[in-house]
C-alpha cells in the first residue's frame, strides 16, 4: 500500500480537500439526534450499565446453550452478577432478570418510556413490542439497578 499521508504536497492538499468538503452532506436530523443524546447523560447516571454480551441476530450461539428455538431474537446484557436476557418477537418482549429480586423493568426509546412491567418472583417480565430505533431497558430490583446498552430491537 502506498505510504500515507502522501509526501507530495499537491496530493495531500487534494486529500485534505476531500476530507474537509466531501464528507457528503450530513443530514441535519443526524446532528440533531446526536446532540439530543446528551440529555441522557444524567437520566440513568445512577444505574450501572448492563453491556450487551450476546445478540442472536449477529453473534454465534454460545456452545452448550439451548434456546427455545423459533424465529425470536434473543439478547443478553450483563453488569457484574446481574444478567438480563430477553426474547424479542413481533408479539413483544419476554425477559428474565437474575438474580430474581422482584422490582420493575422500564423500556425506553430515546424520546421516553414506552412500557413498564413488574418482575415476578422468578425474574420473568414481559413488555410490549419495541418501536423502531434504539431502545434501553432499565431494571430496578431489591439490591441493584441496571440499564442496558442502547440497541435497536425491531
Amino acid at each position: 500500500m502506498a505510504p500515507w499521508p502522501p509526501g507530495d504536497d499537491d496530493a495531500l492538499t487534494v486529500e485534505l480537500g476531500a476530507a474537509l468538503w466531501d464528507a457528503g452532506p450530513v443530514p441535519e436530523e443526524f446532528l440533531t439526534a446526536a446532540r439530543a443524546a446528551f440529555a441522557w447523560r444524567t437520566v440513568d447516571a445512577e444505574l450501572a450499565v448492563a453491556e450487551l454480551t450476546f445478540d442472536s441476530a449477529c453473534d454465534a450461539e454460545p456452545a452448550g446453550l439451548t434456546r427455545s428455538g423459533g424465529a425470536a431474537r434473543t439478547l443478553s446484557f450483563r453488569s457484574g452478577a446481574v444478567v438480563l436476557e430477553i426474547e424479542v418477537s413481533d408479539a413483544g418482549i419476554v425477559g428474565q432478570l437474575s438474580p430474581p429480586r422482584g422490582g420493575r423493568v422500564t423500556a425506553r426509546t430515546a424520546t421516553g418510556p414506552y412500557d413498564e412491567a413488574p418482575v415476578d418472583e422468578v425474574g420473568f417480565f414481559s413488555l410490549g413490542a419495541p418501536p423502531a430505533g434504539p431502545v434501553r431497558l432499565s431494571a430496578r430490583a431489591d439490591g441493584y439497578a441496571v440499564a442496558t446498552d442502547w440497541v435497536s430491537l425491531s
Partner: protein, 210 residues
C-alpha cells in the same frame, strides 16, 4: 470550553458542558455517517445507528480512557451496529432518494465490495479533519481557501489573507508539513517514519517549484 482537543472536549462534556458535546457531534458525525454509508444502510437504519452510537458514547464519556482514540471507538461502534442491523434484514428501502444520492456520489458497489477499504478511507479523512482542527488559524484559512470548490485564485487568496501571492506556496508547504506531523496523523505514519529527516527540505523544494 477552552480546550478544543478531543481530550479537552470529552472531559468538558463528561462534566456536563453541552457546548463541548455539540462540538464533538459537529466534528465526529461526518465520520460516523461515512462509516454507515460505507455499509450501504438504508436511511432509517442509518439514522438509528447514528443515534445508537451517540447514546452509547454519552454514558461512556467518563470512561473514555484515551480520548484520542475516540474516532476509532466511534468508527468501530458504528460498524458493529451496521452489522447488527444488516443481519436483522429489516426495513429494506430499495428506492430511497437518500441512497440514490449516496450512490451517485460514492459508487455503491465499490464500498459494498470493500468495506475495509472504505473504513480506512473514512478513518484517514477523519484524521485529516482532526489534524486540520489542530492547525493554527492562519493555516486553516489558507488550506480551506486552497481546497475550496469552486477554486479560489492565488490573487484572491492573497487579497483575502493580506498575503503576497509569492508566499502562498511556501506557506502552504509549511502548513502541510505541520499537518503531516500533527498527533492525529501519527497512528498512520508507522512505516514511513524513519531516519529520513528531510521532510522540511522536501517541502521547501516543492514549494519553490510552484
Amino acid at each position: 470550553m477552552t480546550d478544543l482537543t478531543a481530550t479537552g472536549l470529552v472531559a468538558a462534556a463528561a462534566g456536563g458542558d453541552e457546548a463541548a458535546w455539540a462540538e464533538l457531534v459537529r466534528r465526529y458525525t461526518p465520520l460516523v455517517v461515512s462509516v454507515i454509508r460505507a455499509h450501504g444502510m438504508s436511511r432509517a437504519d442509518a439514522a438509528d445507528i447514528n443515534q445508537t452510537v451517540w447514546l452509547r458514547l454519552v454514558e461512556r464519556l467518563d470512561q473514555v480512557r484515551d480520548p484520542q482514540a475516540l474516532a476509532a471507538w466511534l468508527a468501530t461502534t458504528a460498524r458493529r451496529e451496521c452489522y447488527r442491523l444488516s443481519r436483522l434484514g429489516r426495513r429494506s428501502q430499495p428506492v430511497d432518494p437518500y441512497d440514490d444520492a449516496l450512490d451517485a456520489r460514492h459508487g455503491p458497489l465499490v464500498d459494498a465490495a470493500a468495506p475495509d477499504e472504505a473504513l480506512l478511507r473514512a478513518e484517514r479523512r477523519q484524521a485529516l479533519r482532526e489534524g486540520f482542527a489542530q492547525l493554527p488559524p492562519r493555516c486553516q484559512e489558507l488550506l480551506a481557501l486552497l481546497t475550496a470548490d469552486p477554486p479560489v485564485s492565488y490573487r484572491e487568496i492573497g487579497e483575502r489573507l493580506g498575503m503576497p501571492v509569492g508566499s502562498i506556496g511556501p506557506t502552504q508547504a509549511r502548513c502541510l508539513h505541520r499537518l503531516r506531523n500533527c498527533p492525529a496523523l501519527a497512528p498512520f505514519l508507522g512505516a514511513r517514519r524513519g531516519p529520513n529527516k528531510n521532510g522540511g527540505d522536501r517541502d521547501g523544494a516543492v514549494a519553490a517549484g510552484r
